[in-house]
Amino acid sequence: MPHIVRLPVEHEQILATLQVFFSRILQQTQVDAMLAPVHLPMKHVVMPSLVADPGKMTGADPLSPSFPMNSAKLVSRLTRRSGRGRFAVVLRPCEIRAFVELVKLKQGRMDKVFIIGLDCLGAFSNTAYSKFAGECGRDATTRFCNHVLFGGRDALDGFDLASACRCCEHFVPHGADLHIQLYGGNVRKEILIRCESDQGSAMADALKLEEAADPQDRAMVVNDLLNVRKAARDRMYANTATVVDSIEKLTRYLADCVNCFNCRVACPVCYCRECVFMTDVFDHDPDRYLGWAERKGMVKMPTDTVFYHLTRMAHMSTACVGCGQCTNACPNDIPVVELFRLVAHRTQVAFDYPAGKDVGDRPPLAEFRESEYTEVVGL
């Protein structure tokens, strides 16, 4: 432990191999149902779905570039309260990291869930994906998968990865029980799966999977991609930092915001049932609006846009995993993920706290020490 097992792939059918693997898990192990991305029957759209019938796994598609939401919130729903079910969940690395944060915040439990993580191939934005799927139909996933693994790093026919994915260095999952490796080796012939926990190894045994060894080129392939992503990330940090470095610039960055709060609804780590910005505290009386308008000459409505974003940063920047769902959800195409990831990066450096890494870490604002941060005290 950890050991590596293999799934032989026939006729280069990578996706079909994984579908069969998932249905075998439902048939041959203690798992009652599996949360996985599945093609809905009524439209070319992939949605996280809880599958109990192994026969339904023919629609499973963990490789598609569709990423309509961060499923960490769904896993939280499946585990927060107790029930009879034992679930397996198929997650992207950023979904695992977000779930780890939610578990720390007591919004979910690890003990009831078996996590299957995949090397992440990245995703398109929602709008790009629906266009891509519309153009490619049934072949969408295969084309994408072949392009990422065997093609190149350029955009595929004008479709590029979402901005969050282009600068994501966490494409290898951590914290999964089983880790499906896609980078390195030749997934057209065999898919290697790394067992990263005791229950992962037990599952591999139960399924009688054959032992294998890591492909020799994996470390190199992963490292190359890591370097590309880190370079993109650092460029993004530098660019974003200069376009928000004053209040005037920040307000320009957010000028299209209409306070719809979609970014917080989509955010997996913004877990409050009732966000203060949606309460009566911000349901101001007409006279307050008039007072502000009179004092300042004019006031944009709805008010409190920058206030909302700065407060959200104070709440989520310790936990942001950079999944990009905020940008995906913004109706006005504000590149919020760049801003939030930059701020989150700095917060997480300040508290020496990598979000989503270890379920045993305590969130920075949930603890304190007697002698620390003395530099912030005093004039």
Binding site: V244, S246, E248, T251, L254, T305, F368, V376, V377, G378
Partner: protein, 140 residues
Amino acid sequence: MKDFEPTVIAFVCNWCTYTAADLAGTSRLAYPPNVRLIRVMCTGMVDPQYVIKALLEGADGVLVSGCHPGDCHYINGNYKARRRIKLLKTILPQFGIEPERLCLTWIGASDGIHFAETMRKLVERLTVLGPGETKLKMVI
């Protein structure tokens, strides 16, 4: 800007700094009138949101002040406050809000002199720094 008078919002804990402010008053210690005191039960209840709101509404500086470490009447509220100030001092300067505009101090109940002196120093510092950008520019 000539004759610039900074506005300071100070969140002071009921048990220590507020009492010190009271003592400064009854001892007739002079300190600048630029400071708006907001009495809170403990620095541990100062939500980062309050600080952000004050700064966005045009405060030139914000002070959070409470009991010395070990003296908090709610045992550890001031340690929690310190982490929140650390957080805000990490976030806000990225948007050009100088870290010097946000201060955290411990001022004990019997320390009226220290209170008056802190207020003088803070106002002096903010006068040199000039008005905050939120006072000059439209904030949405």
